[in-house]
Amino acid sequence: MLVREIMHRNPITASPDLSLQDAYRLMNDRNIRHLPVLREGRLVGLVTDRDLRLATSSLATRPFPPSATVGEVMKSPVTTADPLDPVEVAAHTMRELKIGCMPVLEEDALVGIFTGIDLLDAMIRLTGVHRPSGRLEVSLADRPGELARLTGLLSERDVNIQSILSYPDESGNLRLVLRVASIETRPLAEALCKAGITIVWPQQRSCR
């Protein structure tokens, strides 16, 4: 999954001359928290609702007045993403830097933006159930051919696989969660178990 699949195109932007008052109103009206700042079409900074609140807070040593400009409080330079970046790489960057959004640049042009919420949407798409399906969880040895053997066994039984998630478990095996187009996951698990696949779910006493 690439950044261009999850980003919002045509993001709402601000100019550096916009007052903090107007930037605040713009965020409220459009229900957004991040404004890329453009000067003559080029990204020069980013201002968030948090930046505005901190800059104007009465708790600040020298609070900015509402008439101050976005250019005075924006963060610069901005960490950006490319439309062809994988979403997991973008997630990694956002986690490392503890930032809430990334503007997306193509060459030097701003073409989109995505936030942590869009990454959550991506996670829901990656892990979600989109058609009626049953769940099969197996543990495979981490070596070539294991997944092929599993999918071969499913194919022999005409079982359609709708999604596969995998992650390494504590013991170094590959944990696989498959969504399959079948209500009969228990008989299926038993058949797989008999063929030597380690079944994690559905639980069963034994397949011998």
Binding site: P132, G134, N160, S182, I183, E184
Partner: protein
């Protein structure tokens, strides 16, 4: 007197011999009632017409079902036809249309005041979508019956106690505020079809009228009844349905081979008595019951026999007739039951019981919290 609907053509809705959705389950119930000397009077319904099926299903889907029923060798995977779960045989559409006709007849008899309580001895095909066969279900007889009721301006509460989420009925009425659906099921994290979360509350006008309680695997009977009461009572009190429609699947029983809940026949008797009470309190006694899932040939016929006895107010007999056990020896397995109810302590103690109970209560509470903002 309650009306019981059945037609021999229901048996034409059969998959391969070893497929779990077996018409034998209903034959075993009727035979058990007969052997036990319980009076049974069956009313034979008409088939649903293509127009009636089309009140819920897309015409392209109906065309595909007709095609595949004529030539089962050509599956239509885009409609779920001819898959592992929904293998197709010649003439299957006739059986499915007869079953849909049965549930529809039940709805009409109630709407026209000809009956107050109806038991459809079949049906409950709650996974079928407008254009998708799914989970052994070809035509959604429940949705077709409910649509007939709502087209007359009636409000319908639908309670689904099958162990699988009633996803087909929910999706067909997702934006409809005339239909309240409540499904209790094993959590989609573990079981087909994977949906049925507390956040699935309906869309648009229907928001707040679609209720789901996902239950942990190995949920036991007492806790099941507790969370049912937690949700069903306030929901029915709020919604005040004209008719209560119940999908009485029997696959939440501990012996069921396809799922992991641990209800006993004793739980089912208490559950069915509650359903009658709900109907009397909240829908002026108007109740349409269908069967549904239930894949243990040993347990399912006993559960639905109990349903029949509870519905008619007949006493629950204790011993199973020897002739019945003998006749169904193959289906009942090597260690056939001797009594209508399960024996005491029929399964091993569940070490995680308290954790499971707590989590299920939390699910019910989370659902009630979410809808409390919408039920104003």
């Amino acid at each position: 007197m309650p009306v019981v609907l059945y037609h021999p053509e229901y048996g034409a809705y059969a998959f391969d011999a070893d497929h779990p959705f077996s018409p034998l389950r209903i034959e075993m119930v009727l035979d058990l009632l007969h052997e036990a000397g319980v009076p049974v009077e069956l009313v034979a319904p008409e088939s649903a017409t293509q127009d009636e099926l089309a009140t819920v299903h897309d015409s392209a889907y109906l065309g595909a079902v007709a095609d595949v029923s004529r030539s089962p060798a050509d599956p239509r995977f885009e409609y779920g036809l001819g898959t592992q779960d929904n293998p197709m045989k010649a003439g299957m559409d006739l059986g499915a249309a007869r079953i849909a006709g049965g549930t529809l007849t039940g709805a009409r008899m109630i709407a026209e005041g000809k009956a107050s309580k109806v038991l459809q001895m079949g049906g409950g095909l709650h996974h079928a979508r407008a254009a998708l066969a799914s989970g052994f279900c070809l035509f959604n007889d429940l949705a077709i019956a409910i649509r007939d009721l709502t087209s007359r301006g009636l409000h319908v509460a639908y309670l689904d106690v099958d162990v699988h989420h009633g996803d087909g009925v929910q999706s067909i009425f997702f934006d409809d505020d005339h239909v309240l659906t409540l499904s209790l099921h094993e959590s989609g994290e573990y079981l087909f079809p994977g949906s049925g979360w507390t956040h699935e509350l309906g869309r648009g006008m229907g928001r707040g009228f679609k209720l789901n309680v996902p239950l942990e695997p190995f949920t036991e009977g007492d806790n099941y009844l507790e969370v049912l009461d937690m949700v069903a009572q306030p929901a029915l009190e709020y919604f005040r349905p004209d008719v209560l429609v119940v999908q009485a699947g029997a696959d939440a029983h501990f012996a069921d081979p396809l799922a992991d809940l641990l209800l006993t026949t004793q739980t089912y008797e208490a559950l069915f008595r509650r359903i009658l009470t709900y109907a009397d309190r909240f829908s002026a006694g108007r109740l349409l019951l269908t069967l549904g899932g239930g894949y243990s040939l040993e347990a399912t016929p006993r559960i639905w026999t109990i349903l029949y006895l509870v519905l008619f107010g007949y006493p629950i007999f204790e011993n199973l007739p020897a002739a019945w056990i003998e006749r169904w020896r193959k289906e009942l397995g090597p260690d056939p039951p001797r009594t209508l109810h399960d024996p005491p302590h029929p399964y091993e103690t569940i070490p995680r019981r308290e954790e499971i109970n707590r989590h299920n209560r939390l699910m019910a509470q989370r659902l009630l919290d979410a809808v409390s903002m919408l039920w104003l």
